[in-house]
Symmetry: C2
Subunit: 151 residues, 2 copies
């Protein structure tokens, strides 16, 4: 059939796009009580690993553009989760640091990854199959990141 390859069933990207959206949806019951969104949760993960980072470092670790992260951080600042201070050595930089509220949220969030794992196991019967996707996804992400940067 001439158009066989256009069938939705054959598309990998559509699966990734849908799986990502639905998985983010599964975070809602845990993030809503904290008053944060999934991308904001990702920013917190980055800052919990290492506090006081410039916008660029956060964006880079999340594979996002700074023009996505800046408004995200502004909303998080308004919500009292982070502070944004001018850099000392390089005044162009904005050093993002956690507030007391942002630091304390780590304690409330620490169970979330295990909750999600449990949910996936409940839903699908096993976890191993999903863990096995991780290196493949990493390979894809690294490859795509390299090629789009060479544009």
């Amino acid at each position: 059939m001439e158009y066989e390859q256009l069938k939705l069933d054959n598309q990998l990207c559509f699966r990734l796009y849908t799986a990502a959206r639905l998985t983010i949806g599964a975070y809602h019951p845990y993030l809503d009580p904290l008053g944060i969104t999934y991308p904001q949760y990702l920013v917190l993960l980055v800052l919990w690993e290492q506090d006081k980072q410039p916008v660029n470092d956060i964006a880079h670790k999340l594979f996002l553009e700074t023009n996505t992260v800046t408004p995200l951080l502004q909303r998080m600042e308004k919500a009292g989760l982070v502070k944004r201070a001018k850099g000392k050595e390089d005044t162009r930089q904005r050093i993002v640091s956690l507030t007391k509220k942002g630091i304390e949220m780590r304690e409330q969030a620490k169970h979330i990854p295990d909750c999600l794992s449990d949910e996936i196991i409940q839903i699908t019967g096993e976890e191993e199959e999903f863990v096995r996707m991780i290196p493949t996804l990493d390979k894809l992400i690294e490859g795509l990141k390299r090629t789009t940067n060479n544009k």
Copy 2:
């Protein structure tokens, strides 16, 4: 370590989210010349498989809400890709059909899936590993779809 599970490296969802965004980015060189976005391309895939469908069917096949698809279709109508007509039997329905322009775009788009496959092979050296993710992603999508509907 107490917060080990909060490390970004350990998160499956973050991989899915990032891989989806970057893969959609890889479609840009092919979709931009056609003047369509990735979600619009998905709508066209659905309509190319079967023309004249109500909004609800399109949304369901893409695992999206109708309040996401409606404005998407309105933009596509303005771009001259689809028509939206009141349903005959059920007047609540809006039957979406392809215009001449929408039908003809199929010919220009038919090579896109192969281009993307080639790109993934070039980037990563092989394709098989990614094809193997598809049934796992389907299992995850179906599972998540079921549980979120039972809410």
